[in-house]
């Protein structure tokens, strides 16, 4: 029997630059293969090489062969390849607003896809069946909705229904869960698994999300810089990776490292503090602040945008030297809280050193005490300023240092966050996401704050880069009595960066307490649900993937609300 998909030693170039080197992978019906890799690893290129869409971005397969269902499609041009692959291969694009035509109603998009396949009219019943197959209830409202009126999870299910319309035997999914909330993510993954078993589908899932791959695939291919560096059974590869890159990648998973230790970051990369062979490096004991230290506090905080209340009765207090994690899914109000704590949004219920924030932008002696790190590393910096200039400006303006001293101090700060040499003279456009985030941190430190509020500081970053930033924040909070508030949807990241946690759901704090207690002995049902969506989370041990839910786990209902209601929480999208 021939393999459903057989990619052998393909080499691909785009504009004479090599993007894939000797990539091979194979897959049979009913199997699920994961492709893991970071930005630029070539995982999406591999999918495009299979579907033929490589040519639309100017790519060429130089050598090697791609067989689909025994047929060689390597040299087939796009149009005829699409004809060949029809009924065999379907693609599920990355979950985004543009994975469906934004202007057409759901019903007509599904109908159109069905009709394309059958070349006959599709009845209303056919459309309903197609939607039921992806566990959607085909109400009239749903059929008449347009994509922007659906939640991310529902949209992705419709996209899957379209992909299934041509009755394929192989489904290629490119980052299918990336923009979704954790709970929705697992239900979409469960849908994939269910479909695979029901229909004996071959399934390829491309993702940077190791947890997604772990829960939905049997075998995995790890890609790095256009090469396959490791392949094998998912469980084995993730438990005991052999290749150094895979080891680093898996090690960089925050949930793989016990709390109180540095994460494993890439050797020779931006932050090599923790790059040791094997053993974890403990984070040194922190300087404990004494006496009267600055604090930021929210007390009985209610906040509304117009007539829509987004925060209800919030109590939070952070002192210099303390670390607080704020956890919640999109729409929970956590980013709003971060902005209130830093005085970006006005409220009398938030005080710094006992005094309420003045109107934003007004002069206030406490202004520098609380600084903010934002999610989007590029947008956080002013495009026209070099790294050095933006830190220098903060030194001169906030600390009132003279020009020369500011220059020296800025270089010092940049070095402390791991940026030296030529990098400091670059503008944001020529820095990586991780580097930009480091500049932001250095700039915030230039104000000499007592408390740093970080709103999803690592969500836009690759896993290995995230590890570097987490380590940096760990180091910073040990060196000086710096308070840290980390807002994130990612429990694993929070677990490393916090001593206490508050869990937020729809603008309310539903649970609060010491990190260990909240994560490992959650009380509130919502917290339990959050924790269970993080299968690897376990106390002080490097857990195995056995904790992953079985493929037969029932697909849960989408818990997320339609995106229309969360226009204010745009910062919550996940990379």
């Amino acid at each position: 029997m021939t393999a459903l998909l057989d990619v052998r030693d393909i080499n691909v170039t785009i504009a004479r630059t090599k993007v894939l080197t000797d990539v091979s992978l194979a897959l049979d019906s009913g199997e699920a293969l994961g492709i893991i890799g970071e930005t630029g690893s070539g995982k999406t290129m591999t999918l495009r090489a299979i579907t033929g869409l490589l040519s639309s971005i100017g790519g060429r397969i130089e050598s090697g062969a791609i067989h689909v269902d025994g047929r060689d499609v390597t040299r087939e041009p796009l149009r005829s390849r699409q004809r060949t692959l029809r009924g065999i291969v379907s693609m599920v694009p990355q979950a985004s607003m543009s994975s469906l035509d934004p202007l057409q109603r759901i019903g007509s998009q599904v109908r159109e896809a069905l009709q394309l396949n059958r070349r006959t009219r599709a009845t209303d019943d056919d459309v309903r069946h197609a939607l039921e197959a992806v566990r959607l209830t085909p109400t009239e409202t749903l059929l008449r909705s347009r994509p922007h009126e659906l939640s991310g999870g529902m949209r992705q299910r419709v996209v899957i229904a379209l992909a299934l319309a041509s009755e394929p035997r192989l489904l290629l999914a490119d980052e299918p869960t990336t923009a979704l909330d954790a709970s929705v993510r697992s239900s979409v993954l469960n849908l994939f698994t269910g479909l695979r078993i029901e229909r004996q589908l071959g399934l390829v899932i491309v993702s940077h999300d190791i947890n997604a791959i772990a829960s939905a695939t049997d075998r995995v291919v790890v890609m790095h810089q256009g090469r396959v560096v490791e392949t094998g059974r998912t469980a084995e590869v993730l438990r005991s990776p052999r290749d150094p890159y895979t080891q680093m990648l898996v090690g960089a998973l925050p949930e793989r490292t016990p709390r109180g230790y540095y994460l494993l970051a890439r050797r020779g990369s931006e932050d090599e503090r923790a790059a040791t062979d094997g053993g974890y490096v403990p984070v040194p004991a922190r300087a404990v602040p004494t006496g009267n230290v600055p604090a930021v506090e929210a007390r009985r905080l209610h906040f509304s945008y117009g007539d829509r209340q987004v925060l209800h009765d919030i109590h939070v207090r952070v002192r210099a030297g303390e670390r607080l994690g704020i956890v919640g899914e999109s729409g929970s109000g956590k980013s709003t809280l971060a902005r209130l704590l830093t005085g970006v949004l006005p409220s009398d219920q938030v005080t710094v050193d006992g005094r309420p924030w003045r109107r934003f932008g007004g002069r206030q002696p406490e202004r520098h005490e609380v600084q903010l790190i934002l999610q989007d590393p590029f947008a956080s910096l002013t495009e026209t300023q070099t790294a050095l200039a933006s830190v220098e400006e903060a030194c001169r303006t906030v600390q009132r240092l003279p020009r020369r001293a500011a220059h020296g101090r800025a270089l010092e700060l940049l070095e402390a966050v791991g940026l030296t040499g030529d990098l400091v003279h670059r503008r944001p456009g020529r820095l990586s996401g991780g580097q930009c985030q480091r500049v932001s941190i250095a700039r915030a430190l230039a104000a000499n704050p007592s408390i740093l509020v970080a709103d999803e500081p690592t969500s836009a970053l690759d896993l290995s880069v995230q590890a570097g930033i987490v380590n940096l924040l760990l180091t910073l909070t040990t060196r000086r009595p710096l308070g840290l508030v980390v807002v994130s949807h990612d429990l694993a990241v929070i677990s490393h960066l916090s001593d206490t946690i508050v869990v937020m759901e729809r603008g309310r704090i539903v649970e609060a307490g010491p990190t260990e207690q909240v994560l490992f002995r959650p009380e509130h049902p919502y917290t339990r649900q959050l924790v269970s969506a993080n299968p690897w989370l376990a106390p002080n041990a490097a857990p195995g993937p056995d904790a992953a839910p079985g493929p037969d786990a029932a697909p849960g209902p989408d818990a997320d609300r339609p995106t229309g209601t969360r226009t204010l929480e745009r910062t919550d999208a996940k990379p």
Partner: protein, 297 residues
């Protein structure tokens, strides 16, 4: 009404690899060509009349002589040298365009910036005035102003009619800058970099000039280039309406309008000034194209 809509930035997405359109590498070359055309013509407009042995008003030569070594672009119906006249005319046209647009852009942008920081009511008032000005057919304004101010020499040294055209262009051209600047500033003000700057406690002026301003300047400059294209064409057409800079000062549009009847017998008289207007317009268009990208509209 139709505000300049900024597409929301997908906050956390890794920057799209899909900006792989073919035209990107040409942009720099395009801008260079555009800039060369405009600067080259500007220099020619200044230098040619200075060094030329004949003056634009000399009428010694044979009328309607075709282009020759003696008269590079030929002569017109009065026997004046078209070469010198064209370049002298260009100086006035280009100067008029640049000055008027610069004033309109600066004033419009400033108003837009003020509007961005006004409360909603003030912003609405400015928006409606902007809409009203944009709904106003500017050609009517030009004609009316030219009629009202036309034959007075408003500013000594300037040819008669120039001030009227200039004022009309300014009044017609400012609203887009106000709109553009206002909507951009409102977007930029909420950008993460500006939030960060204000969390650091930077003063309003610093935030405005260091962190918002630079982005506004580039937006407005690219729009100004776009507008220069339209204005070049407009100035070149005014004489056909019987308004514009009064003779005897040479002006490109007037040179075309006055000689349009000569087309079948002496094509060079109307066509050459027309070509100069066209080339100047293309220069601006290339600059606008390469600088503008998506925010030019």
């Amino acid at each position: 009404m139709t505000a300049v809509v900024e597409p929301p930035t997908p906050a956390a997405m890794p920057r799209p690899a899909s900006s792989r359109r073919r035209r990107t590498p040409n942009l720099r070359a395009e801008r260079l060509v555009g800039l060369t055309i405009v600067v080259g013509l500007a220099l020619a407009f200044i230098i040619v009349p200075l060094v030329s042995p004949v003056s634009s008003s000399d009428i010694g030569a044979m009328p309607l002589a075709p282009p020759s070594a003696r008269h590079l672009f030929g002569t017109d119906q009065l026997g004046r040298d078209i070469f010198v006249r064209t370049f002298e005319a260009g100086r006035i046209d280009l100067g008029l365009i640049l000055v008027s647009i610069a004033v309109a852009a600066f004033g419009g942008a400033l108003l837009g910036l003020v509007a961005a920081y006004l409360p909603a009511v003030g912003r609405a008032v400015i928006s409606r005035i902007t809409d009203a000005t944009m709904a106003f057919p500017y050609i009517v304004l030009v004609i009316a102003l030219a009629a009202a101010l036309g034959n007075r020499e408003l500013i000594p040294g300037l040819p008669r009619g120039a001030a009227a055209i200039s004022i009309a262009i300014m009044i017609a051209c400012w609203p887009p800058y106000t709109r553009l600047t206002m909507s951009r500033a409102i977007v930029l003000r909420q950008r993460d970099s500006v939030v960060a700057a204000r969390v650091l406690g930077y003063g309003p002026m610093r935030v405005l000039f260091r962190h918002i301003g630079p982005a506004l300047v580039s937006t407005n400059l690219s729009y100004a280039a776009t507008q220069a294209v339209a204005t070049t064409a407009l100035v070149g057409s005014l004489a056909f309406l019987g308004v514009g800079i009064a003779p005897p000062t040479p002006e490109l549009g007037r040179m075309m309008a006055d000689s349009i009847a000569l087309l079948p017998i002496a094509w060079w008289v109307p066509i050459i000034p027309g070509l100069v207007v066209l080339v100047l317009g293309i220069g601006f268009a290339l600059m606008a194209d390469s600088a503008g990208g998506r925010n030019s509209r």
